[in-house]
Amino acid sequence: MDKNTEYHSLIKKQYRELMEHCRIQLDKTERELPPAREDFYSSLKERGISRRDFLKWTSFMTAALMLPPIFRPMVAKAAENFSRIPVVWLQFAECTGCSEAFLRSSYPNVDDILLETISLEYHETLMAASGIQAEQNLEKAVHDFAGKFICVIEGSLPRGLNGKYLTLGSKGKTGIEVAKEVTSKAAAVICMGSCSSFGNIPSAKPNPTDSVGIGKALGITTVNIAGCPPNAVNFTGTILHYIMFGGLPPLDSLGRPVWAYGKRVHDFCERRPHYDAAEFVEEWGDEGAKKGWCLYKMGCRGPYAYSNCSKVRFNDGISWPVMAGHGCIGCTEPGFWDTMASLEKPIHEASIGGGERTVDDIGIALTALTTAGVAAHAAFSAMRHSGKKKAGTSSDADHKE
């Protein structure tokens, strides 16, 4: 193939510019952010992770972030600076499952260290101080790192009762008040999990506390690491991206990073060949189940859910729900408890309707929706990077099949 086409030089130019941007950004990080508490490379060494393992990891992460291999050194450098980003982790109407997922992440090995050395300035499940002392820590972190810290949020915000279904701290502030105070000072807001992203369980019908995701409750743009709970690797990747480019990664119409949520669970499922061969599990524990056939007829929502679960799996890649013989429940999609119910029935018998052909029909419809969203968000991100802040986002838009 001719390498001197106009197209190629355009691509080359674009990546050169992107790399330059990344270099400037990384220099800025090193200059402006507080120094790391621990040296990254000695942490790797302590944990017995060789240089070779680390390089392998950077290749994986570079590819996962949809960047060409020449970006590997940048990813390495971002990893080195990972623990310099101050993180304030807030918990609202939640179950702490997302924190647990984050603490127990071990895929791949390096993420593990990144998450252990992360600068958590505030996290109620982990911090030693309680009461007044805890509240002081939050005030101090928000003050000291104003405009520099990343605010990670777990849990949705109840709006009912004027927000008083959730009160926090000795002054009995509502969750919404605390969220507003903290996010207004944050460099970026990352929603960890489907509750903070879209409302999830508390907002399932009839939504007794009028709970919604953070973006919708506060009218701000958030990155939505969807999932119940999400895979921690999607969180690490997003932070790395932030360090490298000083901005949020490209998002789909629902605010989810495209690199992690751009494909359907179904697309990379290990049981996909059985779907294509029409080999289905017909009831739990039958011969098909023993052979690992497709779970579509048992209610699997993999064809309707956008996520990389089937690729990265969970807990050091040891398994994921479909591997454990249970269908996907579509937990990365807004309103999934309502739109995907009943979870043990195939979707044509449940709420969406239309027979097996719908798998592809709905997939195509969703893909179109997502693609449109990507373009919109790219433009939106560019605006944001150039310093203009805009309130309101479509990330909480109702999910329509």
Binding site: R37, R104, S130, A204, E283, G285, M323, S342
Partner: protein, 558 residues
Amino acid sequence: MAKRIIVDPITRIEGHLRIEVEVDSSNVIRDAWSSITLWRGIETILKGRDPRDAGLIVQRFCGVCTFVHYEASILACEDAFGVKPPPNARIIRNLVNASLFLTDHIMHFYHLHGLDWVDIVSALSADPKKAVELAKSYCSEPYNCSETHYKAVQQRLTKFVKSGRLGPFANAYWGNPSYKLPPEANLVIVSHYLDALAVSKIGAQMMAIFGGKNPHPQNLVVGGVTSVMDALDAERLGQYLFRLKEMKKIIENAYLPDVLMAAAYYKGEGSAGTGAGVKNYLSYGGFPLDDDWNNLLFPRGVVEGRNIARPLKLDEDKITEEATHSWYKGSEPQHPYKGTTEPEYTGYDKDGHVKGDEKYSWCKAPRYNGKPYEVGPLARFVVGYAQGDKAIKGLVDSALKQTGLPVTALFSTLGRTAARALETKLVADRTEGWVNELVANIKKGDTRTWTRCDVPSKPVQGRGLTEPPRGALGHWIRIENKVISNYQAVVPSTWNCSPRDKAGQRGPYEESLIGIKLAKVDQPLEIIRTIHSFDPCMACAVHIIDPKSNEIRKYRVC
């Protein structure tokens, strides 16, 4: 002059908890109120849904006690459907539950509770050589123990302190006179604090082997389990056993000896019964060893008034919940099958304190036979001990012998923490046997993992009672027209975090704080130490069924 102290947020727990206490002039706690400050209304959400979806939904009560609500809900449905899962399913559920006990208890001791006993800053001044000697006096092969390693831990901590950014360790109670461990003991436990972070990942993997992921596994269905491929795969079982071995290592060579070491220095608290609380203990029984739930690893039963000489049988009809002091309408005690409540939020008083004489928590007040009961590892061990359970009695007696404490020392904050460590060993020791049982059953040719069943078309009701890490858990379900018509969960932290009832009886958290003296009135160390010993889990504790859900938004805020 009495002084009111508010501790909110209580950190290192799941969820949102506020504790208020009143101390007298000599800083002794004279009264206490515990209040949950979040309501999500998940039971309201369940109404009208397919009962088979309930398990996955209620699992989201809590991501720390992941799996347990899933299981309780499935058990309740199985009771209602009248279906019995095959032996393989029972065993696989035990294996997943075991992985949770091992992971959760270790994490609780080191990451959630440890810093109430251990002073990190003091560990910096320890002599690593003496620390090795100390560790070896409690265990022949202490976990990850060497002078070099301890030195490295100290260096790592020093760097942390010098950076001036203590992160999660900032602004805590270091140096408080209530910390009693010598620097060397602090160093040993802090070093295991770091080790345990890595180990908890291994425990989570154990759960994921059969559960698909952790937290929030996805392998249970009414009538059985879905992970049949994993059960039939010898390599999978090997992966589980390999990780079990790793977990046992840290339990036997770090967790147990560390708890015994701490007990030696906090002995005074044990013999004084500090943090004892209510005198009643309840266990629903857990880890079925046969398919009819007759033979259980944790016995089912009740001990009233600390009378271990007279263990009582559990009578499910005596379980009630009431809301006199909770932010819900109504006050009469009701059995969970009939539990119906509506939110009635009344907020705090003009000084921002809880209205202790009125309503003050999103938590309801469960009672057994009209009395407040403690649930959890201590309750299981008190019930087991009273019933003369050999394994439990053996573990308790040997720990008492080692520490030189009387059996009454069980009734204390220290006793609660020690019971949790002992039962971790109890579960860990039995788990391998369950893997073998599974293999033996499959070898016999029984590969069933599911019993065929469907949602009954006539109205039915059922309950699932079990013992997850934090204590007695019950789910009650009613099904009409093939959908859920009523759902009620009475969970461990509801029992323990309960506010006062109609008769004014305090709940277990509240009662346990009475009489505790604070070394420094502006540092709530003793309060959180005792509260943490219950392993609070607030997300679990709050959820009710609301009959007229659309009216909720109309309630006025006071």
